[in-house]
């Protein structure tokens, strides 16, 4: 078994899968929080693009990846701020504003890229990995999972952090209530608007970070429309996960493997259109839904703006 299924190939494949999964994971975790709080955040694709662009700009001019992640997250928050203002505070239609933000950021980042980078297409140097001792010596699995940039481990740790937040903390319960029965939360003396705003801004930060990771670590450069539907995948993951962060992780890895497989097939020169492989994760999920499709447990007040005293 040389060539296609060699050890090196396999670990490269898995390495790529993790790299591809992290942006989806961050977007999915972010979307999950918004949805828990009752805000259907369709603008997440736009937030990721803002994060990807600003993250790249930050990393490119400062030379520091961490600063890039910071500016990326800030970019996501900036877009989320608009969303929070329009959809949470004054209650405009979340689908209209979400799609408008996505379109706008697609255009804006492509425009800025055109004037700034389209002649040179600058690249960032490869991200330096944090090698975990001992574990990284395991054949195949070691190089695939334990030689990533530090932020990858942090993102995975965040999954468990989120789980703790939702189950064990006051804020987590508030978020849940804001999505299920906002009026009850209001009666309990907690500001629904504030709770939802926190959720949307967190989504922005996570999506922005995911975008920045995609541009800085995944690709090493920014190109227009780089997210290519990753935000929408995040929405799908969040909805499939039914409020459990761990399921977002599993889902992200599944999609990551398929994305990585696409690249690997191109490298290996196998002559199947990449579209076939790109269809796999969706097919898998659709089949799962058809076979086990139960009522998705979405928050009751998802997508409905909260207005005190309204019936």
């Amino acid at each position: 078994m040389t060539g296609l299924f060699s050890e090196v190939f396999l670990s490269a494949l898995l390495f790529g899968a993790v790299t591809a999964a992290i942006p989806l994971l961050l977007a999915g975790l972010g979307e999950q929080m918004s949805e828990k709080a009752g805000v259907l955040n369709i603008g997440i694709e736009g937030m990721m693009l803002a994060g990807a662009y600003l993250g790249f700009v930050g990393a490119f001019y400062s030379g520091s990846l961490w600063l890039g992640f910071l500016t990326g997250a800030a970019g996501g928050v900036a877009v989320a701020l608009i969303m929070a203002l329009l959809c949470v505070r004054i209650g405009l239609n979340q689908i209209v504003i979400g799609i408008a933000l996505t379109l706008g950021l697609e255009g804006l980042t492509a425009l800025l890229h055109h004037f700034q980078f389209s002649r040179s297409y600058p690249r960032l140097p490869a991200a330096d990995a944090t090698v975990i001792p001992l574990l990284s010596d395991i054949p195949v699995v070691g190089p695939a999972f334990f030689k990533h940039h530090l932020i990858v481990y942090l993102a995975v740790a965040l999954v468990f952090g989120m789980g703790y937040l939702y189950r064990r903390t006051q804020l987590g319960l508030n978020l849940q209530a804001a999505g299920d029965k906002p009026a009850a939360l209001d009666v309990a003396g907690i500001d629904v608007i504030r709770t939802r705003t926190i959720a949307v801004l967190t989504t922005g930060a996570l999506a922005g970070l995911g975008g920045a990771f995609l541009a800085n670590v995944g690709a090493g450069l920014f190109i227009p429309f780089i997210t290519n539907g990753a935000g929408f995948l995040g929405i799908v993951l969040a909805m499939l996960a039914r409020g459990r962060p761990v399921w977002v992780l599993f889902g992200a890895l599944l999609f990551g493997v398929c994305l990585s497989l696409t690249t690997a097939m191109q490298v290996a020169g196998i002559n199947i259109p990449t579209d076939v492989i790109q269809m796999l994760p969706f097919l898998a999920v659709m089949i799962m839904l058809v076979l086990f499709g139960r009522r998705a447990s979405l928050p009751a007040a998802l997508g409905i703006p909260y207005e005190r005293g309204a019936r």
Binding site: L86, I95, A100, L103, D275, R294
Partner: protein, 365 residues
Amino acid sequence: MSIDTAPTTSAAALDATSAAATRRDILHRLLMTLGPILIALVIAGCILLAVGVDPLAYYGFVLEKGLFSPLGIQQTLTRMAPLLFLAAGLIVAFRAGMWNLGGDGQFLLGAVTAAASAPVLVQIMPSWLALTFSFLIAMAVAMIWSLVPALLRAYQGVNEIITTLMMTFLGTSLANVLVKLVFRDPSTTVPQTRTLPVEDRLPRLFETTITSGLLLGLAAIIIVHLVMTRTAFGLKLRIVGANPRAAVHAGLGVSGLTVTVFAISAGLAGLAGAVDIIGVQGNVRADWNPAYGLAVIPAVFLARMNGFAAIGFVFLLSVLSIGGESAARRLGVPNHFTLVLVSIVLIVLALAEYVDHRYNQSRKA
């Protein structure tokens, strides 16, 4: 004396006031649409200034190329055809409370089937019959494509936003696979389907380059509007949309209606793809995805799912996109700016509606 004249004068006055009221209402609507668009143009103009382009020159160019030049307006009207079909499909779904966000996948599959069937069919039958058949096939394929989300929603309660979104990703890839592997034109090097000869495409209107698909699109959206607002069937769908549980208690077969709504909505999206191919493009190139659906969704919302208002918004979208494409070529502003412009227009329109609503409420109170 005063007793005799009082009723007639008041009736006349009432009549006059109601006429004035309707006139004021129309004027108000017009102001509430044009005002925000102007504001949006100013905001977008600031972005243009920031990147060093003269906004007036840009807008002048967009207006000239999208609206006032004979060729431009013809292109604009041609662009409207698929968008009108998509909007019609969305109106049905949204009024029935179903979020069909899978328009792009349904559109592309419709386009690919039309592109695959039309060049073959025109060789064996008269072209009007062939085009009719490929329209029907495109519609049928899109309908079948929507069956999975429809059945899942109707019988399992699976949220249709996820399923239609996933089906749109699947559909986009599947359309590409079909173009590259199955329906590929063997005589060209670039992967694309066989080209439908220009003389077999939908006829142009009169002496212009406007596709007659425009008339089909207008007919589709007006019929949809009338069906939704004037018929018992439309009322049923609106009840399902307003309150599915109440609809069950009213004795409506909600599951069946759900599947019907998805079929109509997807069928219209498939027709949108077909009308774009049979009327304008002639073939489908690999990786072709105009992503019309994403821009039409918010437009339909802003039109409050009203067919006639949607025609207006679709016209606006077409002017902006055609004008933007020309301006991109001439002024060196990338086409992407159109996306920014559309986005700002949508947001400001939504905001204006909110402000107007608030103002009315405070006046009533």
